[in-house]
């Protein structure tokens, strides 16, 4: 990027500076730490110069926003044209309560909906299943049937606002509930937009809400790709996630490498089925974490875009829409502290800023009380306002990729890309993502990073404000969200009534047909929709698939 002569001059000046100016300063006043390393254990230098990015070619390696390699942004106008979607992940208790929260959030300016489901729903169990004991509505909303979905979105204009649903094992069925609800309201499948997370590979690796083994799960996912681009064109049928991998304890580099690796595995699976890459790739989306190390996170998002564009081109994608990586970001849950919870607002602000400077398409900011419970109204409102201040008051949205060209950020982006390719090679030697999962490769890497991080905190090599430094002995007085205690009972009564009132023969017939199709090779979405329309519950539908596909047992890795 620079003239050789110029670079040599800079190098000489730098060496001089290091040997004199810098060294003298250090002698008088030593640096705060022996080593400066970011969260991925990358050594961070004192200062970066043009030398560090001299190898870059602006046009080839950086380019312009909206064009290959999309390093600087996926759209040519980015936030000058449209701000990121403010999409707060929400859900608790019964559908009625969550419906109220959605209305509250929309009223206060959020621009997209995001559904959190409770554990029984995530695992494909109805509220009255014995394993659901104690879990109803605790970490998300309970949805056991189409009826619950109807209540959840009652009076919400789903033809105007998009909905993201964090659901994986039973994603196809819950998507079925959403589609069926829209159809019943007279809204065409062409008009609804949103995302289902539907990323089973990271479940095996990190979040652990899997149901079926890898092969049938991948089949179901490709079924949704196929059904999606043909029938529900505005829908992102997958949100390939790194968030959870990070939350499980990985480093930023691992988050980047494992997520993109998963993404490529899905692309290959779809191509193996015979789907054309330029048909389904435009509807793949991603989901990253926004953790504490400000610049590392920004570099991570930028590197992600460039690597994805490169890799998809290698696989034969021709359309720009197939190459550009769109992603949602959530600020890091695992960085929130229970101690002095108000300061979480500061953490979230920095993390959100990193996501914005990294060019995210959609953003969820955590609430300050989330280390202890689900967010109260006040806390979630502050989280939303955080985004609004970034958008309207900070000026960072006035130009695209403002950190582009920074010696440090470009160098770090490159470094993360280099480290990612090293991981790609390792996984290739295992024979691919699924064999690597079965051998516990990712799980081991994550467990190691998690343990290392915890030891650093215990030994005070890494400071967490309020936890191992600047502590206070205080009474924690954050108002904790209270849920409707009658919600579970109401839900169970509703379920019993639904099972009694539905057309029994239609129900039986559709479940049988689903079972037969599951044993074969057809796309299961139409069969799932038929079951959904005949008010088969989530549990009943999943049980059919559990019976045919079996249940996954994970290898044990510490």
């Amino acid at each position: 990027m620079y003239e050789k002569k110029e670079l040599n001059k800079i190098r000489d000046k730098r060496v001089d500076w290091e040997e004199n100016c810098y060294s003298n300063m250090v002698k008088e006043c030593p640096e705060r730490k022996n080593k400066f390393e970011n969260l991925s254990a990358t050594k961070i230098k004192n200062v970066y110069t043009p030398e560090d990015i001299a190898h870059l070619d602006y046009i080839k390696d950086m380019g312009f926003p909206g064009g290959y390699p999309f390093l600087r942004g996926v759209y040519s106008t980015m936030y000058r044209g449209r701000l990121w979607t403010m999409r707060q992940f929400a859900g608790f208790g019964s559908a009625e309560e969550t419906n109220q929260r959605y209305k509250y959030l929309l009223e206060h300016g959020e621009t997209g909906l995001s559904v959190a489901f409770d554990y029984p729903t995530l695992y494909g169990y109805d509220t009255d299943h014995p394993l659901a004991r104690g879990e109803f509505g605790k970490c998300g909303v309970a949805v056991s049937s189409l009826q619950d979905m109807e209540i959840l979105f009652s009076e919400i204009p789903i033809e105007k606002v998009t909905t993201s649903m964090t659901i994986n094992g039973p994603a196809a069925i819950v998507w079925g509930f959403y589609i069926a609800n829209a159809e019943n309201r007279g809204i065409s499948k062409n008009a609804i937009g949103g995302t289902i997370q539907n990323d089973i590979l990271k479940e095996y690796i990190a979040q652990k809400s899997f149901i079926f083994p890898p092969e049938p799960s991948m089949r179901l996912i490709v079924d949704t790709f196929e059904y999606g681009f043909k029938q529900v064109p505005r829908w992102n049928t997958i949100s390939i996630s790194g968030y959870h991998i990070r939350e499980a304890g990985s480093t930023a580099v691992q988050e980047l490498a494992f997520t993109l690796g998963d993404g490529l595995a899905y692309v290959k699976a779809a191509m193996e089925r015979g789907l054309l890459i330029d048909e389904f790739a435009p509807r793949l989306s991603f989901f990253f974490n926004a953790h504490n190390d400000f610049f590392e996170e920004i570099a991570k998002y930028r590197a992600a875009r460039r690597i994805w564009a490169k890799e998809l081109r290698k696989l034969g994608a021709k359309k720009d829409r197939s190459l550009l990586m769109r992603f949602h970001t959530q600020t890091a849950g695992c960085s929130l502290t229970a101690q002095q919870p108000e300061i979480n607002i500061v953490r979230v602000t920095l993390q959100a800023l990193a996501a914005v400077l990294g060019g995210t398409q959609s953003l969820h900011t955590n609430s300050m009380d989330e280390a202890l419970a689900l967010p109260s109204e006040k806390a979630v409102r502050i989280a939303l306002r955080t985004q609004q201040i970034l958008a309207e008051e900070s000026g960072v949205t006035d130009t695209i990729d403002p950190l582009g060209g920074s010696y440090f950020v470009e160098w770090l982006t490159d470094k993360m890309e280099e480290e990612t390719y090293k991981y790609f090679d390792k996984v290739k030697r295992f024979g691919g993502v699924i064999p690597a999962i079965e051998k516990g490769f990712f799980q081991r890497e994550i467990a190691e990073s998690a343990y290392k991080y915890q030891k650093e905190i215990d030994k005070k090599e890494r400071t967490i404000v309020g936890v191992n430094q600047y502590k206070m002995n205080e009474e924690l007085s954050i108002p904790i969200l209270k849920m409707d205690e009658k919600g579970e009972h109401r839900q169970i009564i509703r379920l019993k009534k639904l099972r009694k009132d539905r057309n029994q023969s239609k129900f039986d017939r559709n479940l049988k047909r689903l079972r037969k199709a599951a044993l074969g090779n057809e796309n299961l979405m139409p069969y799932i929709l038929d079951c959904v329309h005949s008010y088969a519950t989530l549990g009943e539908t999943c049980d059919v698939l559990r019976e045919v596909f079996g249940e996954y047992k994970e290898p044990v890795i510490y």
Binding site: K439, G550, K553, P555, V556, Y558
Partner: protein, 313 residues
């Protein structure tokens, strides 16, 4: 009779668990109870299962146990994992694969760390086998980890030793110590739905052919897909056939005798070592001898003479 012993004979799980702990810790209370239960042992068929990590041993054991339970038999499982030589602690995770059996009264699962400073099987495992036997278990399965010394030791305890392999590990058979391959009474190639199974079978079968040319029993080689419960019934058949073979050929008595010999040696060794290294009488002396060796003032053999001389006097 010792109180805990009588409860163990009735099969009370708390007492069984407690006695195992006492035996593991070489607690003096254990000896009394062990004496009382010994005459009530000998009926259980002891199966040793060994193989590389990732061969699916735990899943196979889980499926075997379910089949045995269907036949109305009670099963005891001893799952052994390595104790860290640095911390002395252990992560005992084999149970995870068998948790669906946790609430079945006819199954008792105990996880143990190898603990022994000398490596190999945990020294208490003989006791635990006897305890589970006395508690009424018809089958006692001993599962060991990896492919080291412990795995070769398992044949001293087991009536039937099963070596579990898995296809696709390439040169896995070569990497498994030769000794381990020799100890198998039955070979099982698990995860037989994976590619490479034909090659693995061919390798094992050729080994068997060579090893069994002059023997009166050819070691069977089976395939299983444990997680789909395939081949498990056939494996039980082979185990039963092996038991019949042992009884017919009188190898059963020979094997049992070897086990009791090993057990006796183990008890004596433990007592001696405890006596020498733990008895306060000698401890100080030992410490000072080690110091002298470290300072090159003495050699280990002379040091040993000194200590043994004191005991044998």
């Amino acid at each position: 009779m010792n109180d805990i012993a009588s409860k163990v004979l009735k099969g009370d799980p708390r007492s069984v668990a407690r006695l195992i702990t006492l035996a593991e810790n070489s607690s003096p209370e254990a000896a009394g109870a062990m004496k009382d239960i010994h005459l009530h042992t000998g009926d259980a068929h002891v199966i040793g299962i060994t193989g590389v990590m990732g061969s699916g041993k735990s899943t196979l054991i889980c499926e075997l146990t379910r089949e045995y339970r269907k036949q109305g038999l009670e099963v005891g499982i001893i799952a052994i994992d390595p104790t860290s030589p640095f911390s002395g602690g252990a992560l005992l995770g084999d149970r995870i694969r068998m948790m669906e059996l946790a609430t079945d009264n006819g199954v008792f699962i105990r996880s143990m760390g190898t603990r022994g400073m000398l490596g190999g099987l945990t020294t208490a495992v003989y006791d635990v086998v006897e305890i589970l036997d006395a508690a009424g278990k018809d089958i006692v399965i001993v599962e060991t980890v990896g492919v080291g010394q412990a795995e070769v030791d398992v044949i001293k305890i087991a009536d039937t030793t099963i070596v579990v392999l898995v296809p696709g590990l390439g040169d896995s058979i070569q990497t498994i110590k030769a000794g381990v391959m020799e100890i198998a009474d039955i070979y099982v190639v698990n995860k037989a739905d994976r590619s490479g199974v034909e090659q693995t079978l061919a390798e094992v079968e050729s080994l068997v052919d060579i090893a069994c040319t002059n023997k009166d029993r050819k070691t069977p080689v089976l395939t299983t897909v444990a997680k789909e419960n395939k081949g498990v019934v056939e494996l039980i058949d082979e185990i039963n056939k092996h038991k019949k073979y042992l009884k017919k050929s009188k190898m059963f008595e020979v094997q049992r005798r070897k086990r009791y010999e090993a057990e006796l040696v183990e008890i004596i060794r433990k007592r001696l070592m405890n006596f020498i290294f733990d008895e306060s009488k000698f401890k100080g002396k030992i410490e000072s001898l080690i110091d002298q060796i470290s300072n090159k003032e003495l050699d280990p053999y002379t040091a040993a003479d000194e200590i043994l001389g004191k005991i044998l006097r």
